[in-house]
Amino acid sequence: MNLQSIPVAEKAGAAASRPIIRVEAVEKAFGAFRALKGVSLDVYPGEVHALLGDNGAGKSTLIRILSGFFRQTAGRLLVDGREAHFRSPRDATEAGVGTVYQDLALNPLLTVSRNFFMGRELTVGPEFLGILDMEQMDRIALAEMRKIGANLTDPRQKVGTMSGGQRQTLAIARAIYFGAKVLILDEPTSALGQKQQLEVLKTIMRVRARGDIAIIFITHNEIHSKLVADRFTFLSLGEVIGSGTREDLEGEDIRRLMAGGAEINDLARELQAAALGA
């Protein structure tokens, strides 16, 4: 196995001082299968941290640990310097880790503001009646979406009528409003067309510009990660095979690490050998 690690760079300028999330030698085993074999990474506020790797590299397992679906077998998870034990997704949300899944958890038949407040509705009057405060909900949903750049006019628009990029923005705005200090975006650009992908990247940059939110950006797409990420971590077969800041990594490094750490030339040679052998 080609295992070449790149030293983790010291935080340039050290402006954002300490990481908001620190993953320390986290391991996860499913029976005999070790999905994560001691993964460490730091995520800083105001930064986009790209998490890259092939299928089966352990990205989903890591996200599921961070968002409280799984518990790690070994290793520590520190949120804001304190060790965190997530027993459920709810624990993670309350600790400020907001995850935007690929399916976005939106209901296309409902309006924007109802989706925004789904499960956390604002009410007026006696609590047990649960009468919705529609005006307030509309106002907040609209304002929060505009903050990160959605040109939305009607909070009572059905989500089913919105573009993929707008939906992504809605899901992100919702996570931030409900207290996410760390935003995990699971392949947010993968199911979209070119134009929509750019919209999502713009949204990511606007959230980054706030400075107080850390973004973990999971993607397959090397170009997208290079466009927005400040820091990169590459996973392969449950291990970190490389990491560093944008400055540390040359374009070739990123491409090589995306391919699981192998040199592209080696791959080319292997392929050639296979072709000749056949």
Partner: protein, 315 residues
Amino acid sequence: MTSLFKDRIEASVILGAVAVALLFTIATKGLWLQNLPSLLILTAGVGIVAIGQAVLMTSGEVDLSVGSVYAFSGVGFIWFMGQTGDVALAAILAVAVASLIGALNGALTTWFHVPSMIVTMGGMFVYRGCVYLMTAGHSLSTPRPLRDSAVIEMLGGRTAGVSHSILILLVVMVAAVFMLARTRLGNHIFSVGGEPQSAAANGISPARVKIIAFSLCSSLAALAAVVAVCREGTIYATSGKLMELETIAAAVIGGCTLRGGIGSAWGAVLGVFVLSSLKGGLMMMGAPTSWYVAFVGLILIGFLVSSRLVNGRLN
């Protein structure tokens, strides 16, 4: 949005209700209008149940046992009256028992992930069996000493010629419309009906919401039975038969889908109005009652097909 009307899920049932009213009024030269009060009482009886069915269908489930629960609750109401001698208490107990039946339906459906139609079909036979046993296949009547009680007068009487059943229907309808449109529970019902996974990801328990909806549906069936017993004084072994079909058909005509996430309480009530009008019309034309059974079935299927054709989504 050019037209508010065009986008409404209730559009076709509004057209249907107007068309039926016009058609019968013209065909009978106005005679039909005299029939309206009894038609509205008919609508009220099934309408209360249809509201429950519509709420439940909005949450993505269906209840085939409403007709049996209706009869069972009517029988229970009368039995409780005999036991307690108190009409109000008996009514509360009957509705409470029904709400437990609904919760059981909901628990079985959601915990074991089986189609609600099959679970409630089981319930339909169980409760109908109980009704036959308790009525010995005939009927039960309100205990004689209680027939003039104030509560029975309140639930089953008339004011200024208007049957209280109709007023109760209106109250239930307004409450249901408000609940669906303006409360947290309503929001959750729409959420779990359309996209249960999304709802769950946002911290809403689909099982909990559906169990509440089932419970509400059965309770409304019981309320309808209590009102009917107060009005008529009698419940028969066969009371409420066909009600599952009528209420589902009315809910579907009124805008609900089997998948859930879409639904309207007043649409369902209008749906019942259309069905009851047709029933009355067929009777006035001297058609045998068997026609009505076939007719409702055909309307249900015809409506499903035509709405699919209008939406142009053939597989």
